[in-house]
Amino acid sequence: MRKDSHVPYTADAPQRPSAEELRARIPGWGADLDPADRPSVPREQFLPTGAHWTMPEDQPGQPGQAERERSIEHGRLPPVYGTSVPLRGLSGAIRHHAYRRYSEARAAHWLLLLGADRVDAVESHLASLLSTRPDNPVTKTGVQSELGQGPLRSRFGQHRADAGHHVIDPVLIAGPWVLAGGAAYGAIKFLRRRAAARR
């Protein structure tokens, strides 16, 4: 800033480089200079899209999709929708309730969905233990990528603002497994004691 500048206390505008200087320094400078000649101007305009329908035909329902959950702010089920993971289990019941009962305007809607996400994770971990491919709490986190990728060099001496809360991530990730393991160990110990007492 120039020492003699009175910006913004007078009407003076700040000194800025000229168009010629900028054009010489920046490839393509000013190619979209005209605000009226930009792809999203005006914001709302009809453009041909390649669509050859007025209203898309409805996606045929599938087994398990008959009751496709939808926001109560919709007047109807939209004609096309994703089918990646249908509702299931306790998390599905919570999600179903969130969609059926609360609009997108209600915090309860989103808090229930976030809660259901956590329930879903627990359900899925437990189900995986009964499958041929149980969840591996280490490899699924991608933590092996720390090796050889400069974990210390990347984090320290770099002015990083996030180093302070990096330590929270392992607690969040490993915490539930440690707690579950502790609970299982405690339960087994308790049952053994009871069995020993009966003998």
């Binding site: 190619a31 879903d120 969840d135 991608g142 990528s145 720390e146 969040l172």
Partner: protein, 382 residues
Amino acid sequence: MRAMVYRGPYKIRVEEKPKPRIEHPNDAIIRVALGAVCGSDLHLYHGMMPDTRVGTTFGHEFIGVVDEVGPSVRNLQPGDRVMVPFNVFCGTCYFCARGLYSNCHNVNPNATAVGGIYGYSHTCGGYDGGQAEYVRVPFADVGPMVIPEWLHDEDAMMLTDALPTGYFGAQLGDITEGDAVVVLGAGPVGLFAARSAWLMGASRVIVVDHLDYRLEMARTFAHAETVNFAEHDDVVVHLKRTTDHLGADVVIDAVGAEADGNFLQHVTATKLKLQGGSPVALNWAIDAVRKGGTVAVVGAYGPMFSAVKFGDALNKGLTLRMNQCPVRRQWPRLLEHIQAGHFQPRDIVTHRIPLEDIGEAYHLFSAKLDNIVKPLIVMDPA
């Protein structure tokens, strides 16, 4: 097919899934050639986006080859090499008819406030994404575009989200000749927003981040001045001082929900999920822009409330503009820019990682290790 599958916060793995099938007459099935992990995928990975279901495949940035088309598809045929915008959109609803493709009303039963996005939770429609060998692409006649012969595949990849979103952010700023523009965030979208600001006549572009290696790319790729906010006690005061105490004419928030810079805000939003996103970047934007200026937001935020300093925005008479980018609208002009040599989008790609190692890609990107800026997921190295 092999696909990335979400298993809960911070946990993903690659597993076998059924190959997607045509579910609607205007669907296509695309065999993915290149995918990517986007910074906004990290919000899903961290468990911030409501209704992110275990079993979902992420990935809204992908290009590939048409494998199969539904009976009503006219504009594509098997064998076409296509790029796919991250928006799922119908092309004819009230909003699409007005060019608001990212706000399509016909593709997302789960929410009316957001359109459809590939691999971006059920809140965005429940579509599986492209971090897989195959992906279902609805409305194949309006979304995908055959990749021009002259266009490099990695440049096409950048056109599926990061480049159009950055360019759109600059447009939302309504930049006029001589404007001073601050871009918050030196990730891919921020870098492209900064580069685009010059196209629209900015006289100064200042990029703010806390990762030195990304700021280096902001200097070399985006020709921008840089500010590492971690080096300043109060980055807003620093920005004011460097803009003649006026503030910037335009500030673009290219950070979104996981902004650092305030420990309390970051932890309450990203770790405890008590806000829809950390409001740090948005509040800095409101504070650092000049009175009467414009704040453009293209960083992704969740649907919950965030502690935004709205009173300051009101008192300063700001214009706040934001949206998910309607990608297809940006392509013709961006292709002109690439062909004219104004920039080469693939210059920001730092990592090319096989699908089988995608768990490591997410961790690298989440923890910002190994100077990562943009990781691509390579499906068919041949």
